[in-house]
């Protein structure tokens, strides 16, 4: 049932690693935090480009409907994804967008948080490829639905050892910047 049910959607373009971000979020909740989680995705035929989304439902109770119906928190890394996937964002929900790429976020009764996510990955963390982990850190901070420790553990269990530091740095950069952007 919807009580205790929390719906998160990661959206952007194919190839941005958003499905992985959703998987890590689900893993953090279900394996490390002991909650229930379901992750699903929809994608087009392109391996790169197009609009892509990854959804995670988190709950204390068994989850029946596995897809998002009323989104509590939405990430949009492209304008196209933002336009396509923001319609079912809940009143009072959270919308996180990349401020460089989403110039026209929708208007509504939700908390809008903007910061340059991809640019943070590229210039502050050092690699564009970890933009998904920056975004994940930001969503963990903004939603508070999984613990920071569990999320970090889940991130590090998914990446090769050689990239541990890079990913930890990306996660923390996203986490901190999102909170700063929200409280600004």
């Amino acid at each position: 049932m919807s009580a205790g049910r929390y719906e998160i959607r990661f959206s952007g373009a194919g190839g941005q690693g958003l499905i992985l971000a959703g998987i890590i979020m689900g893993e953090a909740a279900s394996i490390y935090d002991g909650k229930q989680a379901v992750q699903s995705q929809s994608y087009g035929p392109e391996a790169r480009g197009g609009a892509s989304k990854s959804e995670v439902i988190i709950s204390d109770e068994p989850i029946d409907f596995p897809k998002a119906a009323a989104v509590d928190a939405l990430l949009a890394l492209t304008q196209e994804a933002c336009d396509k996937y923001s319609r079912d964002l809940k009143e009072g929900g959270i919308l996180l967008v990349d401020s460089d790429l989403v110039k026209k976020p929708p208007k509504g009764k939700f908390t809008l948080v903007r910061f340059p996510i991809i640019n943070t990955a590229k210039n502050e963390v050092g690699r564009t490829i970890v933009a998904n982990i920056v975004a994940l850190g930001a969503m963990v901070a903004l939603t508070g639905i999984v613990s920071r420790e569990s999320a970090e553990k889940a991130v590090l269990s998914r990446v090769p050892e050689a990239f541990t530091d890079l990913n930890r740095k990306a996660f923390r950069a996203g986490y901190d910047k999102a909170l700063q952007a929200r409280d600004k």
Binding site: I23, G26, Q36, S40, P45, I63, D64, K67, S157
Partner: protein, 377 residues
């Protein structure tokens, strides 16, 4: 993190279930949205001393698993939509020759290429009637990642026990979604092996009905020499056109499954005891339906869910009994009306049966089902 617990995709769980059941040969062909089954099998089978083959096409994949099964090996193939169509002829071959095998068909939109990445539940009739001629069918439709594991194990058990092909048909949502799964310990789930011959090679016949409707199956290479053909055959395995034998053999093949429905048919009833409205659903849509039933209960409507787990043989008796208690039945499904006809056949006019049909690549959400419950009440 215990290695018995994982956050896994349905298709991945299916492959792990197959390994757990003792599957040691997989042949397949890449196709969306089932490919992850093949990918996991390619990785896992060599580790347990089995063999994985990516064949030149879907037809060859089906053929190779039947050949491998005849050597006494548990076998799996996985496919979707167009691939399931291509496999039908050899599925019929496995039916008439009574060779155990498990086929996973992760359902996507169709017909033809349809919507390769979109979910669907429109292959359920093909699972029953896809190959030509009369033949039995067992088809399982799991609704969660954990259940895709356990139902795959059960599919192997049924295939081996009843000498028949068994299809496991998650829709794309169940095949691709991720949930936590707890891997059963070895021995925790029952694993059934096929019954081998109890007579010597000189006396052995591959369809010897002295041993019942499911005759023991010997393995090629084990000292038993016998003939296997797709022609109508006599109990010694050789072709025959003798009318009484052909009739008896075809009837036995249907009977061996029909007489075992109590062992095969599984389902889940949720809040049906006092229900006025019953929703009959399966796969991911059963999860929407459960959500909607809970919504209805909150709104004071006595709704319940009948979740089909074994689609074929269809849970006829259970749905007939249900129709004697409820005022209306709703069947939401990701096709343009298939289950609804089966349900109507069982309900026999005792209650109105309406459907919710969707084939646009999106699941039927709880809202649509809740609205239908309110309407028929």
């Amino acid at each position: 993190m215990s290695n018995r617990v994982a956050f896994l995709q349905g298709n991945e769980a299916c492959a792990h279930g197959a390994i757990y059941a003792g599957c040691r040969f997989f042949a397949g062909y890449p196709i969306t949205p089932s490919t992850e089954v093949a990918e996991v099998m390619a990785k896992e089978l060599p580790r347990v001393g089995g063999a994985f083959m990516q064949m030149e096409d879907e037809i060859a994949a089906m053929a190779a698993v039947i050949g491998a099964s005849l050597t006494g090996t548990k076998v799996l193939t996985a496919t979707s939509g167009p691939g399931f169509s291509l496999k039908q002829e050899n599925i019929g071959y496995a039916c008439i020759t009574e060779v155990p095998c498990v086929i996973v068909n992760v359902m996507r939109g169709g017909p033809s290429t349809g919507m390769p990445t979109g979910p669907s539940q429109s292959d359920v009739m093909q699972a029953r009637w896809g190959t030509h001629g009369d033949h039995p069918a067992i088809c399982l439709v799991p609704a969660s990642v954990q259940e895709l594991f356990t139902e795959t194990v059960r599919a192997f058990n049924l295939a081996e026990k009843y000498r028949t092909p068994v299809t496991v048909m998650p829709d794309e949502i169940v095949g691709h979604m991720r949930e936590r799964i707890v891997f059963p310990e070895p021995g925790e789930l029952e694993v059934i092996d096929r019954t081998g011959p109890t007579v010597g090679p000189d006396e052995y016949k591959p369809y010897d009905t002295r041993f019942g409707d499911v005759p023991p199956l010997a393995s090629f290479g084990s000292g038993y020499r016998f003939h296997v053909t797709g022609l109508n055959k006599a109990e010694d395995g050789f072709p025959t056109t003798r009318a009484e034998i052909v009739q008896a053999e075809e009837e036995r093949q249907l009977r061996k499954i029909e007489n075992a429905v109590d062992d095969i048919v599984t389902f889940e009833e949720y809040l049906l005891d006092d229900a006025e409205v019953a929703v009959v659903a399966f796969g991911s849509i059963a999860r929407s339906a459960r959500y909607a039933v809970n919504q209805a209960r909150k709104a004071g409507i006595r709704a319940g869910l009948f979740r089909i787990i074994t689609y074929w043989p269809f849970p006829e008796r259970q749905i007939r009994a249900l129709s004697e208690r409820v005022r209306a039945v709703i069947t939401p499904e990701m096709n343009l009306g298939m289950t609804v006809h089966e349900v109507r056949r069982c309900v026999e006019g005792r209650a109105p049966v309406s459907g919710i049909f969707r084939v646009d690549g999106e699941p039927i959400g709880p809202g649509a089902i809740f609205a239908a419950i309110r309407e028929v009440r």
